[in-house]
């Protein structure tokens, strides 16, 4: 355990308990997509494309009163240590489902009846926390596509490593640590849209972990806003206050 956490409380990659890995978000990286984004979250490198709202195929999937959201989380064969079979694994199918459910509450799907919105999340290189980084990037790509939204979705994990509650678990901490709790949060509506946990936490640690993860989500949220501002408001708002208009309007 001491390998993961030094006596001074420094983690295996040099971070403190409340420090995120370096994050970089770019908006509009793919020409063909209606919306797209690229995120680097630690060693994670993920590209996301949004197509839609568009006509539904197969047609029977269409809903008369709202749009259908489809999400695919997929890891490229070379994104992990040992080559991953490109066919969707059970893990990827589960993550695709929870990603959809994490994003859905932020979207005003009722504005686009009889259509589908496709979200493709491709993990080019994976580190711990790729589902959170994928959700974060997907939410930015949906905003880039101009889909009506109630809020952005920011995601970040917290967990227990070497006996301490820490934010943003990396790969080694995920494998060797005691607990991993991915959280997705709607910052303005103050709602949690994704919550999972692997590992043991007491009731107090659970609350502490949840609060720390939400704290991480708020930091991620400001980086999402910054990335969108940079693309859409850079000429208007150069050097201006960062408390300008909200991006979801």
């Amino acid at each position: 355990m001491s390998r993961l956490m030094s006596e001074e409380g420094i983690r295996i990659d040099g971070r403190r308990w409340d420090e995120l890995r370096p994050v970089r978000i770019e908006v509009g990286v793919l020409k063909n997509a209606d919306g797209s984004s690229y995120i680097e979250f630690g060693k994670n490198k993920i590209v996301v494309a949004v197509y839609g709202p568009k006509e539904v195929h197969p047609k029977h999937m269409a809903l008369p009163d709202r749009s259908v959201l489809r999400c695919r989380y997929h890891m490229l064969p070379f994104s992990v240590e040992e080559r991953k079979n490109p066919a969707p694994s059970r893990r990827e199918i589960e993550i695709s489902k929870i990603t959809r459910e994490a994003l859905e509450p932020a979207l005003i799907l009722e504005d686009y009846p009889r259509t589908v919105i496709d979200v493709f999340i491709e993990v080019l290189q994976s580190d711990g926390g790729s589902r959170c980084a994928g959700i974060t990037a997907a939410s930015v790509a949906l905003a880039d596509a101009g889909v009506n939204m109630r809020d952005l979705v920011a995601a970040c994990a917290a967990g227990k490593v070497g006996g301490r509650i820490v934010v943003d678990i990396n790969d080694e901490e995920d494998k060797m640590g005691e607990a991993d709790m991915p959280v997705a949060y709607l910052p303005n509506l103050k709602q949690v849209s994704l919550l999972q946990l692997d590992g043991k936490l007491t009731a107090d640690e659970y609350r502490e972990c949840l609060n720390l993860a939400i704290n991480g989500c708020m930091q991620v949220y400001s980086m999402q806003r910054e990335a969108l501002m940079k693309k859409y408001f850079s000429t208007v708002n150069k050097g201006g206050g960062d408390e300008g208009g909200s991006v979801e309007e």
């Binding site: 809903l63 008369p64 009163d65 709202r66 059970r90 893990r91 199918i93 589960e94 695709s96 489902k97 929870i98 959809r100 459910e101 859905e104 509450p105 005003i108 009722e110 504005d111 009506n148 109630r150 709790m181 709607l186 509506l189 103050k190 709602q191 949690v192 849209s193 994704l194 919550l195 999972q196 946990l197 692997d198 590992g199 043991k200 936490l201 007491t202 009731a203 659970y206 609350r207 949840l210 609060n211 939400i214």
Partner: protein, 305 residues
């Protein structure tokens, strides 16, 4: 396009997810919401009550362990099969535990044959997570020859009748089946495994209990029926161990939870989990005393009652 007023109304409409439904379903939902406002449910239960839980173990003689669980009208059967296998290269001193679940085509008018869909995959993975993360099975005691031969424990669950909360019913069935499983004992002779006639129980550390709750409007209800699941905005499954620790969580559904609701559901999962744990232990204990007295006909009796 939608007017700004309409947009604002929707934004403040608690993000209620409108699902396409039939008139009957909409009426049923309206009735459910009226009752929930009075802290009542369609089937007469209180908001925090589980349906009647019935556990029958040891019905399948060909399996190492088995359990038939009824949670109200939801019915699932779990079987444990134990084989000898090679360990994963990165975990040479750990046995294997593999959990699978399927919703059989006979389980509901909506179930169809075919490979497991995302719901069935999620079901199996959430049940697996609760058992694995609580360290229910002492996998380090399932090693026969370090790095070469270990026990592989397969838990397969089939849903026979689907009426909501498959997560808890499936989890209880796997836990009860594991608690009563008997596995063959092996002796190592000259670097070879020799199977003995003797059987031993699985090494168990703790009894994890999963509690699933649904959010409808602003109410949190425990153990939703299929009808309630059709109306819910979000769902959360929390597994706890004997020390009252939270071991695994899965939120599902297209809605959200507030922070206050998330502390409420964690506290509920711990207190209700303790009650259910006693029920599981009693069901397992009562049968292990008169072991092997069941014959196959008992399945009919267990299912019909």
């Amino acid at each position: 396009m939608v007017s700004i007023e309409e947009r604002k109304r929707r934004l403040h409409d608690n993000m209620s997810v409108k699902k396409t439904t039939t008139i009957v379903e909409q009426l049923r939902r309206a009735q459910m919401n009226e009752l929930l406002a009075l802290n009542k449910r369609l089937d007469g239960r209180g908001l925090k009550d589980h349906r009647e839980l019935r556990i029958d173990v040891g019905l399948i003689k060909k399996a190492n362990g088995s359990a038939l669980v009824s949670l109200g009208n939801t019915q699932v059967i779990a079987g444990i099969k134990v084989e000898v296998d090679e360990p994963f290269p990165d975990m040479p001193d750990k046995g294997l535990f593999i959990c699978n679940a399927e919703v059989l085509p006979l389980a509901s008018p909506y179930a169809e044959p075919g490979p497991p869909d995302e719901d069935a995959i999620e079901l199996a993975r959430v049940v697996d997570r609760g058992i694995r993360e609580s360290e229910m099975i002492a996998l380090d005691k399932l090693v026969l020859m370090s790095g070469k031969k270990v026990y592989a424990v397969f838990a397969d669950v089939s849903v026979l009748n689907s009426d909501g909360n498959l997560f808890d019913a499936t989890s209880y069935a796997v836990v009860a089946a594991l608690l009563t499983a008997r596995i063959p004992k092996y002796d190592v002779q000259d670097d070879k495994l020799v199977k003995s006639e003797e059987t031993i129980p699985l090494p168990i550390n703790t009894v994890p209990v999963s509690v699933t709750m649904a959010k409808i409007g602003n109410s949190i209800i425990v153990d939703p029926t299929a009808e309630e699941e059709a109306c819910m905005e979000a769902r959360i499954t929390i597994a706890t161990d004997e020390h009252g620790r939270v071991c695994a969580i899965q939120k599902g559904g297209s809605g959200t939870f507030s922070l206050e609701q998330l502390s409420e559901v964690a506290a509920l999962a711990i207190s209700i989990g303790n009650e259910v744990r006693e029920k599981i232990k009693n069901a397992v204990a009562s049968v292990s005393t008169n072991n092997n007295n069941n014959d196959d006909n008992d399945i009919n009796k267990s299912m019909a009652s």
